[in-house]
Amino acid sequence: MNSAELLMREIKYFTNFNNKMYQFLLFFQPLVFLTITYFLGQMREGIEVERFIVASAIISMWSYVLYSSGSALVSQKWSDTLKMLVVAPVSLFSVILSKVLSNAVIALISMVITFIYSIVIFRFDLHIPNVWLFFGSVLVLVFSLSVIGLMLAFIFSAFENVFAFQNLILTPLIVLCGVFLPVESFPLFLQVLAYCIPMTWGVEAVYSSLSLSSEVYQQAGFSLLLSGVYLIVGLLFYRRIEIALRSKGNWGVM
């Protein structure tokens, strides 16, 4: 099975209406956030509509990545397929990377759904000045979400009961990555922390593409660079998991 086929299968599985866990995240959550944005927007005139539609989309994308990629590795144990992955002729890293990439692409669907809702239901005047620049910056964001997903999958497999803490990760990261408020408005230590997350640069690149700011390329570059560092660290982590699973038969909660 090639990568495209695997991706299509994943998309088909996760967007299937029988997969109830993700129905809310993909189809209903954008509606909830857009409704809140729509009515809050009525409280004050002259708000930057595009920015908040994109913000609603990023919340949905991030939620999806957190809930889906977080369990990418642990779910292999639940479904008893972990041992097959360990003896498979491809590395565990490659398998999980393909999963988190497909999850991030599916998260992109939630952005498309958010845009469709905003135009069709809420009649927002969604104006994207340079579609290709915007699309490029979104791809950078999707890649940063993938590497964060890779790290989440590792963390979720390393510690007990991390699932119970998912909500404690969800909202702080949205705030920290500057989805609503600019990172510059945070205290210095939070700024440092925020800029260590590739998503922050990705989010900034997306917003810069909306305002056609020249900083977009620099921000996208930083996001890709940082994502690359996370990817290498992820590769080392997953090698360690593989070695532990092969030598001791267990790792973390698996």
Binding site: M21, F24, I36, Q42, M43, R44, P172
Partner: protein, 260 residues
């Protein structure tokens, strides 16, 4: 009787709360609401400016407490269904409502704690100053809202038994309440037909009463509280009827719920 009540509620507490260590309680009942309010504050500040912060925080304090109670109730019913004890409650030689009442004590106390703690966080973190001179009225509002939300929770928990997958139902309920009950914005902004729905839901009037007490809106608190209490009573009555019908149907057919 009191001992039995305490024992029953304590067992319900141990069954419902998988996190009964102090550390986890700290995370889920103190840190989590705080993070939720910070998240909401960020949205409000970015969209409508910090002048609107108190308004949105008050709505969310009430909503978060409601969310806790609804999740607790639906989880309680889900667990009873999963472990097959729901049928035992029906078959027990004790009134079903007494069983439900005893099990309600812990979610009620939990919701009350989160509500009151939320008001304190509001004061400390966002300078949404508690009107100390109106403390009696404030506590009355908290109690009435908690009662009406408890009734709604029981109603939804009964309805949830009709669904094989409760997660989607729960998320839809919570998402719907955020929009319909004026949590983030005034219910008056909703189209008339949607507002008429929000007016028959608990929380809508309670949030308006809270905001009035905090000087953020100007309504008649007494009238709002009366409506909130009546709506709560209405939902309680409907929930009791549903339980009665389900109990009757269960005894006749030998099956209580859709299999999970």
């Amino acid at each position: 009787m009191t001992g039995r009540l305490n024992g029953f509620s304590y067992l319900s507490f141990k069954a419902l709360y998988s996190f009964h260590s102090v550390r986890l309680f700290f995370f889920f009942r103190l840190i989590d609401p705080m993070l939720h309010y910070v998240f909401i504050a960020a949205i409000a500040s970015a969209l409508v400016g910090s002048g609107y912060l108190s308004y949105i925080i008050i709505g969310n304090i009430a909503f978060y407490a409601a969310q806790i109670m609804i999740i607790n109730f639906i989880t309680m019913f889900r667990m009873e269904r999963r472990f097959g004890t729901l049928e035992l409650n029906i078959a027990a030689p004790m009134n079903t409502f007494v069983v439900i009442f005893r099990k309600s004590i812990v979610p009620l106390a939990d919701g009350l704690f989160v509500f009151l703690f939320g008001l304190l966080i509001g004061q400390l973190l966002f300078k949404v100053n508690i009107p100390w001179d109106e403390l009696g009225n404030l506590l009355l509002i908290v109690l009435v809202v908690t009662f009406s939300v408890l009734s709604l929770s029981l109603f939804f928990a009964c309805l949830s038994l009709l669904f094989s997958n409760i997660n989607l139902f729960l998320n839809l309920v919570l998402g719907g309440l955020q929009i319909l009950c004026g949590v983030h914005f005034s219910a008056h902004l909703l189209p008339a037909w949607i507002e008429s729905i929000s007016r028959i839901l608990p929380l809508t009037h309670g949030i308006e009463a809270l905001r009035t007490l905090y000087g953020l809106e100007a309504y008649n608190v007494q009238s709002l509280l009366m409506k909130e209490a009546l709506i709560g009573l209405g939902y309680l009555t409907v929930a009791i009827l549903i339980v009665k019908v389900m109990e009757y149907a269960a005894r006749r057919s030998g099956a209580l719920v859709k299999s999970a």
